[in-house]
């Protein structure tokens, strides 16, 4: 199967990969890699999205806050994401903090951008209904604007989760001794392509699981939407 263009050292047959996975599991390394990477994704994603929701709500709502913050955020967004890594290492040291910070940065921007777009896109006519009932700005935010922009927020969260997985691998390339990203670089150094594939396959599976979970949440929360995506299949 892998005969031909690649020799087995570059593209190992699936059986070899499975064997490598089993031996990694027996030694308890696969479990700990998965656990540590998942934890980093979870923490970074949570921190990044919470910041994005707070900041996005503020800038989406108050024009003055937008004018103050938007140029800075726009500028930060144009920084290539990998370029953050050395800076974060310098600032935060080489333990958990910079890795989680990098994941948080990765998750932050998709959530922020989508939420702000969602808030700005809320139907003015619905806000007018709330104004007839003399609701305060805060009540309008909570009862009209946030539910109305929930679809965009959830889109942002899904993209943010994808980014979080991407960034965790990058974060673990640097100064890490554990995790699936470390396994990738480590197996490159030791030319264990089979282990590399184990890490890749596990990452793909975990990314897929995350996305599926968020899709279910989305379907649940947005069942009120009258769109093609919400038609019973």
């Amino acid at each position: 199967m892998s005969a031909g263009i690649f020799d087995p050292y570059q593209l190992p047959p699936p059986l070899l990969v499975a064997e490598a996975a089993v031996s990694l599991w027996r030694r308890g390394l696969l479990q700990s890699d998965i656990a540590i990477t998942c934890l980093r994704v979870l923490e970074g994603f949570a921190i990044g999205s919470v910041f994005a929701v707070l900041l996005g709500t503020v800038t989406g709502f108050w024009r003055r806050a937008e004018e103050a913050l938007e140029p800075t955020l726009q500028a930060l967004r144009t920084v290539p994401t990998l370029a953050w890594a050395p800076l974060l290492l310098l600032w935060l040291g080489i333990d958990e903090a910079p890795k989680i910070a990098l994941v948080a940065i990765g998750a932050f921007f998709p959530v922020y951008v989508n939420l702000v777009a969602g808030i700005k896109g809320v139907d003015r006519k619905l806000i007018e209904v709330a104004r007839v009932y003399n609701l305060s700005d805060l009540q309008i935010a909570r009862r009209v604007v946030l539910p109305a922009s929930l679809p965009d927020l959830l889109t942002g969260l899904r993209l943010g989760a994808t980014q979080a997985w991407l960034f965790v691998v990058v974060a673990e390339f640097f100064g890490s001794t554990q995790g699936l990203g470390f396994r990738l670089t480590d197996s490159q150094l030791t030319t264990r392509v089979d282990l590399m594939f184990v890490a890749l396959v596990v990452l793909a599976i975990l990314g897929k699981i995350t996305d599926s979970i968020l899709r279910v949440v989305e379907r649940r929360l947005l069942s009120w939407r009258d769109t093609l995506g919400q038609m019973p299949s």
Binding site: K125, L126, P147, L150
Partner: protein, 251 residues
């Protein structure tokens, strides 16, 4: 018992364009007043002023003797579109303007309002699952449930088919019997105006003034084929044409 609406010497301009040129209307408690006039003469604008959504105007608007200076629980507003919140059920939509939307008292009031509008069995339906006419009935229920003294309706039935429109007009009358608000109804449908209203106020071209006031005599329930209603309709039509002719001659 008297809780009238008084619009006195109201003038409104958008930038350099005068839209409302001095309008005086007094509406006795519980009256149904229809407001008709050429497109763009400021009918919707006037309703927004009465609802307190726009407070930049000259003149005075008061309800029950006190001046309106912002959104006011005594004034309700129904728009041309239902404007239901798509993520809320009809019952939750109707409860939207109540102080404690989840309370037991709210539940009772909402059930009442939905029943008056013939929507009792759709309380838990989402807006996407009901027809346009039902959505507009829910919007009416939402406006009525807070029991405003004055209910403003801006072409509430104009996007519905003729049959649904007639049905909703009767729903509106039933609700009016139950809640007895003072109704101000903006409409382009002269049949609707003479069928529903006690008085029809005709506004002139922009900047608008009250051009004519017609009293609709027949007692309710009215027959849509009542010849006196048809006669009024013709009179209104002529008044509107007269207005257009006058503009044509002036320009």
């Amino acid at each position: 018992m008297s809780r009238p609406l008084a619009v006195s010497a109201v003038r409104k301009r958008f930038g350099d364009v005068p839209v409302i040129g001095g309008v005086d209307i007094g509406v006795p408690a519980g009256e149904i007043l229809a407001l008709v006039g050429p497109s763009g003469c400021g009918k919707s604008t006037l309703l927004r002023l009465i609802a307190g959504l726009d407070t930049h105007y000259a003149g005075e608007i008061s309800v029950d003797g006190s001046v309106i200076c912002g959104p006011d629980p005594r004034v309700g507003l129904v728009f041309q579109e239902p404007r239901l919140f798509p993520w809320l059920t009809l019952a939750q939509n109707v409860a939207f303007g109540l102080h404690d939307p989840d309370g037991a008292e709210a539940r009772r009031l909402v059930a009442d309002a939905l029943a008056v509008m013939g929507l009792a069995s759709f309380a838990h339906a989402l807006p996407k699952h009901v027809s346009g006419g039902m959505a507009q009935r829910a919007a009416l229920a939402r406006a009525l449930v807070t029991e405003p003294q004055v209910l403003l309706l801006d072409e509430p039935f104009s996007s519905l088919d003729a049959f649904t429109r007639m049905k909703l007009q009767d729903h509106l009358l039933a609700a009016w019997q139950r809640y007895r608000p003072t109704l101000v109804l903006v409409t382009h449908d002269l049949d609707e105006a003479v069928y529903l209203a006690d008085r029809v106020v005709l506004l002139s071209e922009r900047p608008s003034r009250v051009q004519d006031v017609l009293r609709v005599a027949p007692a309710r329930p009215r027959d849509r084929r009542d010849p006196s209603l048809l006669g009024l309709r013709v009179a209104l039509l002529e008044a509107l044409h007269l207005e257009r002719g006058a503009v044509g001659a002036a320009s």
